[in-house]
Symmetry: none
Subunit: 257 residues, 2 copies
């Protein structure tokens, strides 16, 4: 059974943290008249409960105030995304034409594209547009309309039509899942429709995906395996997924090789 004293202290700790943003372990130990080790043990349960995060020497709120879910997603698997983006940039030459779909991985990819010059970029993502629009003599075409709060990108028929007017060399897609049976999948119908149109508009069709998407099923199928030319990922796919990719002749690039 839990003691009352313990839960009272946890509440006090939470109060201190939410009041000051971060509090040092030493401070807490002094103000609550317990040893630092006790504070650490409390911090452990608080962290497992997801109420706080432990830093080195102090405790803090789990996420920065005002941080968007999108920004948070950008941080998940950040190293993998960065590695994939670096690898994918090698496919692009100065002066290339490309369509870049919305997504956290493609946003990182866009940042890495600052190492290329004179690109012509078509996108529906305000983040990608901003990243590339003002630098290196790039030309950027962005689909307008209402930007979905989820990711700051335009969808719907106008956006699809906008994309359809272009014919480019490469298209780079982010996906929500990559399943051996169902193929590349997105979380919403609108995303999938736009991605599908983008695929038709390019000669060389590339999917950027970290391994956490492998075998995952999302809501809507984007396309068949035969509509993709290349997969750039951080770890090699295995089993039936690998079979399907090979069968469809999809080239596979593994970041860091």
């Amino acid at each position: 059974m839990k003691s009352h004293k313990l839960s009272a202290r946890l509440g006090e700790i939470m109060g201190q943290i939410s009041l000051h943003g971060t509090v040092s372990v030493t401070e807490l130990a002094e103000s609550l008249n317990v040893s630092e080790e006790t504070i650490r043990r409390d911090a452990k349960v608080l962290e497992e409960r997801g109420d706080i995060i432990k830093l080195h020497g102090s405790l803090a709120m789990p996420h920065q105030v005002g941080e968007a879910p999108y920004d948070k997603r950008m941080r998940e698997n950040a190293e993998a995304k960065r590695a994939i983006a670096r690898k994918a940039v090698q496919l692009v030459e100065d002066g290339d034409t490309l369509i870049i779909d919305t997504g956290t991985t493609t946003s990182v990819f866009a940042q890495e594209l600052r190492n290329r010059r004179g690109l012509t970029v078509v996108t529906n993502s305000s983040d990608i547009a901003r990243t590339l629009a003002t630098v290196n003599g790039n030309k950027v075409y962005m689909a307008g309309g209402e930007l979905k709060a989820d990711n700051g990108a335009a969808f719907g028929p106008p956006a699809v039509e906008f994309i359809a007017r272009f014919k480019v060399r490469h298209v780079f897609l982010s996906i929500a899942g990559l399943h051996a049976e169902h193929g590349p999948m997105d979380a919403t119908l609108e995303e999938a429709e736009l991605a599908h149109m983008a695929l038709k508009a390019a000669d060389h069709r590339v999917i950027l995906s970290d391994h956490s998407k492998f075998g995952k099923v999302a809501l809507v199928k984007v396309c068949g395996f035969d509509e993709v030319d290349r997969l750039v990922c951080d770890r090699a796919p295995e089993g039936p997924l690998l079979e399907r990719l090979r069968g469809a002749g999809v080239a596979i690039d593994i970041a860091g090789e």
Copy 2:
């Protein structure tokens, strides 16, 4: 797998950077009472996380990399722009509807608008769109098309038509010059046309301008003094300019008062 612990200092560094645009390593070391080497190490993880970029001797927001003229302009008079933005935000309430024109001052203004919730924002700037689209339950409508490399914003007839379809409470404009005789002026015809349409679409028309624009002549006249309701600036205008503003009944807000 080594999970890097984070220092509570990282948040403070991010705050400083987003506040001033760029901060020198030396300044940070002094204000946080740690060695410069420690700041550099913090900067490294922040950079790998994509939150900042390291310059030689200082740290900056990620989009200030490269030599884009737009980013350079963002740094000029950074303090004044920030102060003006803070003042202007006081005019906006949660849930307001607004049009925000492209510009360096309005971009800073958009950052400050993260202190408001549930806004409906219409803009032609990819930077402003990206700043506000994914947070606080805002609704953002962005004009699409080719983004001018100069500032990452859409112009031309389609953009003007896009803006014309809205009717909002406030419009916020950046300008290139504010002259007693010629009124508010922009650097290009396209910018001026779009700004003029934006003015017609709002009840409350606000110009954001630092004092360096006072008395300056740019290429194209945007509108008459009587088409403006308010000027937010960092220093009081003087002489004939002040006369004209007063004569037209333009309210004047001075940042820091």
